[in-house]
Amino acid sequence: MTAVLLPSLPVGFEALEAFATRHALPLRWAPPAAAGLQLLAVGAEDDRWLRLLTFSAQGCQLLLADEPELAAGLRVAFGAREIGEVLALPSDDPAEIVQLVGYAAALLQSGVCRGQPEEQAARELIIARLVSQDPIVRRLAGVLSWTLADEAGLEAVRAAAERFPDLLFAVDTLHQQLHEQAAGTLHDLPTTDTLELARRAREAAGQGQLERAKRTAELLLERQPWDSEGVYALGVGLSEDNPLAAAFLLGAASTAEDDAGQPEFPDAAARMAQLRELPVTPEQQQATEQLVLKFVRQWRGYSCAALSYGGAQALDGKLPSLQPLFSYLLGAWSSQIERLEQAAKLAPGVPQITLRWLEQLEQSEPERARAGMDALVEQLRQGLAPTPLEQQLEATLTGEGEPLTLGSLLARQAKAAYEAKDYDRAMQLATQALEHTPAELTALQVRALAATFSGRLEESLGAYAEALAAHDARYADGGAVFLSDPRPQMWFNRACTHAKLGRREAALEDLRRAVLGADRYAEEARKDDWFASLWEDPELLAIVAREPQALVLQEHRRPEHALALLGQAMDAENRGEPTVAAELAQQAALAAQLAGALPLQAEALAQKARTLALSGQLEPATQAATEAARLAEDPSVPPRVRGQVFAQVGLTRQAHGDLAGARAAYERSLAERRLASDGQDQALVARSELTLAALDLSEGSAHSALERALRALPILQQVVASGQAELTAHDDLVSAWLRQAAARFALGQHALAHEALTRSVEQVKRNAELGVQALPWMVQLLVDTADALLQAGVAEAGTTKAEARALLSTGHPEVDQILGVFRELRAVIAAWRALGRADADIASWISAATLGRELPAEIVQVHPLPELRPLFVRLGARHSTLLVTSAMALELLGTPGQLDKSLSDLEGLWVSAASAS
């Protein structure tokens, strides 16, 4: 290869192509050898090559020719010169000198003259200029001195920096570069991507780049301590620095298996066996101790027992200070009692180890185990100070979990005694445990249960109350979500106690709680003879039959509770969760029925009917509406409630397509609301008018609709002006203007229609100033109406349409887009439901559209399904956790009854991701 310099010669593609053609080198383009370095190559099938390299920093280009003939041709064609000649040119002109420094650096960087005289000339040129008196020449030589790239070069730069401290930066740069070069990390970009780190760790370990393997694995294990790729690579990386630590890690990695059950690192065990036999210094032993303790602690946190076992096996008998730990890990993994006993004897001050040994011993020698446990309790009671190493071991084995205390140990003993039906001892131990740790949950539970089964029934009731209160507090702060809830068992046992004591009401109430918490207690109550006195009781029979009415707790059989549930049902409907809303409304109706609150029952049933109708479940909606209407005829129901019930009944009938029935119900609602006299009910009268106006419009009776809208308007204006109006009245006022606009439009009164529309937009804005946000469907109606007016030639409607559309905007285009997509999605879901499509199918379509899976042909193009995936991917690209969380939400969509809630969650997730951008 001959390097030819093209100093200050503008070579373009065309010139080079022409040259190549003249020399019978048909163009063949080669991939770059390194980013930004090799620009193009031309060559022929017989491997004659020219390569043009551009060195921006050095301000020059090199043409490399692999044949002298080609090089000679370049001289003629471009006036190029061989670089050796150029570097040898004498010069005193600083401008020429800096250019020569550039050429020299380019030549070194290209590596084409390695081992040849030109390389030495280039190095000498740069080194000589490092001590130039001109700071510019000197510093340029310093900047480009990284191309010297070896220890000799570093020495030269150091020597220059001693004379000229302004070159210290160059020393640091070259030193760092050599270090990275030696480690093999020179080309590793900084990354936090664990997959990339794992790839590098695997590559470095495979190629024997020990320093790179170590550094990459450390970064990986900081994020994923369980990652076997990192454990193996760190083991390989440490094998020269610290054979003992390396043996531990390779032993751990040797337990890892691939999907086929084969060792993931087939050479790990053999490497480990070699390394563990190598001599180590005390410092290496000490470093190994710290590494072992760190990893065992982390692996316990992630339940990676196999890694700990593999590591322990590697160092078994090799590191005396940690032998108790290794014996413990080996014994615990394979349930070897001798190993555990050995561990306990080597480290008597580590209760976790002793306890594990005693638990194992319990199975073969219960007496000895019990004595050992007593001794352990005594040891803890005396509070003997453990050695520093024992403290470290205890902390390592405890990890992030609860430390072993005297209270928790006594509670364990109490539980064991309870399970052995030694109730007196159980109570005694539980009481002792609570003396040391008053909120010890296990002890509280055992004390109550033991009191029951030892016949101390009255005493047990107080114990249950205390235990349940402690558990309630723990569950209320979310501290026990991953544990199975013991409260249903305690409620059941307390129910047993009450039954035995003849306290029927209390027994049934606790049984209700138990059955609501866990179904199986219904069956147990049938069989458990503690309930014998109630077996014939109809209420007990209803509870164990799990009749909804019987399962309502006494404390919930109150109008206040029913009212609260009804409020929750309305909130759920507003949140777009009709399934939850309908269930809550049903519960409200039941609670109201049991409380004897008939008007409330009718109202709750009407709410249920409305929710079901709006979500397309027409048959159950009709049933609920019929029942609500029947109850509402009762004389005890006040006109306000009756008006509300018939309004919902009307809506249900309208959804069913029964317009005549709907009109009758709406008229009845209006009549009942007129009967009511206070200001609030006046607003409801107006609302009924507006509902009927909408019906009129849909039936083409625009005159009647206009009259109704004009009747409703002053009422609502007055109510809103009073400052006492509920939020709905503000919306209704917008509706009044909007209905008027629609009616006038239908009557051809376009100018008046536009005026009414303008007023409705103004009202929406006023409402917003008062904190009342417009309902999206209403704003959409404003936009649609404006659009219709625009089509009809009312030019001003364009501005109104823009204003209306702006009302839908959050000011954040991406958020608007997401909200729009979900709004449309809900409309599509409602339509699908009305067509009788199951939620499970709908959920699977949404998931498939989002995740890019295949969709049934008939819905592939259904708007807005095609918009889901681009949104998902775009947001996910910016927020990687969003992809994971969304994938989980999409899975939950398919859970029965969760479609609406999961959709809301998904929407919230995406909106917050977009807002954060």
Partner: protein, 356 residues
């Protein structure tokens, strides 16, 4: 006559994935084409220019469909018969500027050649042989608007952009039917940037599989780079799309509309402009942004920098050279001008860390 011959060539249809359309089907496609183009979100005059083509052309065949890789969007390749020229043209999408569609002749051989140019499979990015870099002085704070515009209005461009950390297209690693986990992994990695280079975002076109890379440079400059296989089909097509910029005739037209929005400067135009006006650091910054690895860049930069020596712009010029790591040029500037000597001495050291 020749069209009937093509229609009857079953082997040709099979090879190219063509579905010859009946009169009515063709009419429906033509209507859709007209509707789609008249609503295209381009400058009204630009749209107007293309309105006559759906009138005088008839859609005669439906070609392959290409889906975008992360969304359900994409485009269908259509063949249209231009009655005035009496030859076929290839329409990458009904939203594609009609006057830019390449004409592909009337013989099986010319159709095969056109499909070889335009219906390509993805090619490893570093191995794409041709490179075009153009400068775009756009007043943008973020690339988002550009990417969204392309995604919304150019269905012949794929989605799933990737960042400058990747030499190749990371989506090439995806299986044919990616699952959610694949998406999570690719989503995490695709947009990563290289810490030592200007931030960039790359996209492929769906048909020629050319790669458009959008680079964000200092001083408010953007560079759009296209890496492509040169095409032999209809070398006049780029000029029909725009005559105001001299794009290479072998540039595949399916990547060209992405370059049309906003002002565009090709490297040769930059040099000419710098000679026409007074001295301005814009041309030096532009050459630095455009000239990454380009032949002749060193001499061009030296030349443009020397024109700024002794002017009010020389401090800015020194900063630009430092920013782009043109260290020899920077040193030469410091030696040439006493007024920038001190800053150049400082910048030389800084430039080692800051080169993009």
């Amino acid at each position: 006559m020749w069209l009937d011959g093509l229609r009857e060539d079953v082997e040709l249809a099979r090879q190219l994935g063509l579905d010859w359309l009946g009169e009515e089907q063709g009419r429906l496609w033509s209507e859709q084409w007209k509707t789609s183009w008249s609503a295209a979100p381009w400058d009204p005059q630009f749209v107007e220019r293309g309105l006559s083509l759906p009138e005088r052309c008839h859609v005669v065949a439906q070609g392959p469909t290409r889906q975008r890789r992360t969304s359900s969007g994409g485009s269908i390749l259509l063949l249209v018969h231009d009655r005035e020229r009496d030859e076929l043209a290839m329409l990458p999408s009904t939203a594609f500027p009609p006057f830019g569609m390449p004409y592909i002749g009337r013989t099986p051989a010319s159709l095969r050649a056109a499909f070889a140019d335009y219906v390509r499979e993805p090619w490893p990015v570093p191995a794409l042989p041709r490179t075009l870099r153009v400068l775009k002085p756009l007043e943008l704070e973020s690339v988002d608007i550009v990417l969204r515009t392309i995604e919304a209005t150019e269905p012949w461009m794929d989605d799933g952009p990737w960042g400058g950390a990747h030499e190749g297209d990371p989506y090439d690693e995806l299986p044919a039917q990616p699952g959610p986990i694949d998406l999570v992994l690719i989503g995490r990695r695709a947009l990563e940037q290289h810490p030592g280079r200007p931030p960039s975002w790359s996209l492929r076109s769906l048909w020629s599989r050319s790669v458009l890379r959008i680079e964000q440079h200092p001083y408010g400059l953007w560079v759009f780079e296209v890496r492509y296989h040169p095409v032999q089909t209809d070398l006049q097509a780029p000029e029909r799309l725009t005559s105001s910029v001299a794009f290479p005739p072998d540039l595949p037209v399916d990547v060209l509309p992405s370059l049309l929005r906003g002002e565009t400067l090709v490297p040769s135009a930059l040099e000419q402009l710098s000679l026409q006006g007074g001295p301005s650091p814009f041309y030096l910054a532009g050459a630095c942004a455009l000239g990454v690895g380009d032949p002749g860049v060193c001499t061009q930069i030296e030349r443009l920098a020397s024109r700024l020596v002794g002017t009010e712009h020389e401090h800015v010029a020194a900063e630009i050279l430092s920013t782009y790591g043109h260290q020899v040029a920077l040193a030469r500037m410091g030696l040439a001008s006493p007024t920038v000597r001190d800053p150049v001495e400082q910048l030389l050291v800084l430039s080692q860390q800051e080169a993009p």
